[in-house]
């Protein structure tokens, strides 16, 4: 279980003193899949970076299975089984996809494993294994490789930051399946930052983050019902408008 205890974060270089994450408390349980959603700039990625240890909270604590990891570095947390798929993954000149995935797997991965990882994110191993993770990869390709680098690891807490961004529609279904499988098969706590309904549907619980605060934590069914109601509303409105348009057309002629 991963626990955030009243975590706040104010960047040192910021002139405005308002924290960008404020008093966030969360209990994220094993074998559960959480989706964090909310408006742009709300503080979702900041929360993820606090979990990975890329940034340190200004106040509050982070605990993994009861162990205080607040002062641990990124690599120490990584070795305890925390992983983070970047929203904007960096590119590396000279490092191949195979190099990166082998590192990710802790050098345990053979060629076979690298190939199956690539397949699981919908990339043909033959075409990508030896490509460099540099500026020649497209945005979507880079995101898939980032995803594979997290799937390669045996994690206790896996955080994915908008994994669907830049991924085409067809592969998106595949992606949702990948998360579903991970959820079924592993004991990990899975956290996905997403704006997509199809991903929200996978959640055991949905966390709404806005204005740097954890606004609410609700079950998927409640949230999905709200979304559907809203959609049904909009849909019937559109239909009504559409009908009136037609009626108007016939009246005029």
């Amino acid at each position: 279980m991963l626990v955030l205890e009243r975590v706040s974060y104010t960047p040192a270089d910021r002139t405005c003193l308002e924290p960008i994450v404020q008093d966030a408390s969360l209990e994220l349980r094993d074998k559960h899949l959480y989706v964090i959603t909310g408006p742009n700039g709300g503080g979702k990625s900041t929360l993820a970076r606090l979990i990975m240890g890329i940034i340190k909270p200004t106040s509050g604590r982070v605990l993994l299975d009861g162990q205080d990891v607040t002062d641990m570095t990124v690599d120490e947390r990584a070795r305890l089984g925390i992983g983070y798929a970047f929203q904007q993954p960096p590119r590396f000149k000279g490092l191949t996809v195979r190099d990166l995935l082998t590192l990710a797997a802790g050098n345990r991965a053979g060629d076979q494993d690298v190939a199956s990882l690539l397949l699981s994110v919908g990339l043909c191993p033959k075409d990508y294994e030896n490509r460099e993770v540099d500026a020649t990869l497209s945005g979507g390709e880079l995101k898939r490789i980032e995803l594979a680098s997290i799937l390669a690891r045996n994690l206790r807490v896996a955080v994915f930051d908008e994994p669907e961004a830049g991924i085409d529609l067809w592969s998106f279904r595949r992606l949702a399946q990948t998360f579903e499988e991970m959820h079924d098969k592993s004991d990990a706590t899975i956290v996905i930052i997403s704006h997509q309904e199809r991903i929200l549907e996978l959640a055991d619980e949905i966390i709404l983050v806005a204005d740097g605060r954890v606004k609410e934590l609700r079950s998927r069914d409640e949230v999905m019902k709200d979304i559907r109601d809203e959609e049904a509303c909009r849909c019937s409105l559109e239909t009504r408008e559409g009908v009136e348009e037609h009626v108007g057309y016939f009246r005029q002629n």
Binding site: V74, D75, A78, Y84, F92, G94, D99, A104
Partner: protein
Amino acid sequence: MSAILDRIDQRLLRETAGLHSIPRGAYNIRKNGVGIARESTANIEIRSKADQSGIEVIVKPGTKNESVHIPVILSAEGFSDVVTNKFDIGEGSDVLVVAGCGVHNSGSADSRHDGIHEFLIRRGARMRYVEKHYGEGQGKGKRILNPVTVINVEEGGVAELELVQIRGVDSTNRETRISLSRDARLIVTERLLTNGEQDAVSRISVDLVGDDSTARVISRSVARDRSSQVFYFDLRGRSRCRGHVQCDSIIMDEAQVRSIPEISAHHCEAQLVHEAAIGRIAGEQLLKLMSLGLTREQAESTILDGFLK
């Protein structure tokens, strides 16, 4: 090979020429100023120049998939060696030339090798040239390498150069000059790492003389500690040609890097591009690798190794 080469020599050869045993094909091994082993083949002749100032390598026209190894080793402390070698790469041939210099200096006097290589790549021939420089030894004496490489590529010829200096050379001043005729093609990849108090200067100048000639220079370097690097790139378009220089340096610690590019067009259809960048290792790159469990040091060396690969 062990009869003429001791263990230090063998290691130097491994580092510079990738040699684990006597190479196949033609070779000439020079140690402390004298040739100690030489072999010509049916298609590649190696002979001493009349004035004894170096060797001549003559590749017969049409020779395919053959190689020439010409490593130089300096293991006597305080030795200064000057050599001028000439290469005639025959029409339509396709060969690999592996040069390089390994210096072992455990004394207090400087060891130095100034090697001049002149190539004529004849019509339609292709040459891959790999030059590796390597130094070792604990002595206070410096290990100094100043190579000059001059290449003329005739019509339709191809020159691919790989210039690598990754370890142990205290001071280097290298000069590479290439002239390209019609339809000739050049690819240069340069890899350089300096650390400690080392300094390196590299000048690469390319004349695109003939129409439809192309040149691509990719230089990557890493400067650590208090070392310094200076790069000069000079690309001159004298015809309807295309040229591209891309140089990238990672700077660390208190090192210094200067990159001085020049591109000049003397023809209205010359297309020349220069890209240069100097910067630290990107923080996000380190964080990404650390988030996979690598320590900061491991992450750093992974990034540098990849960059210089």
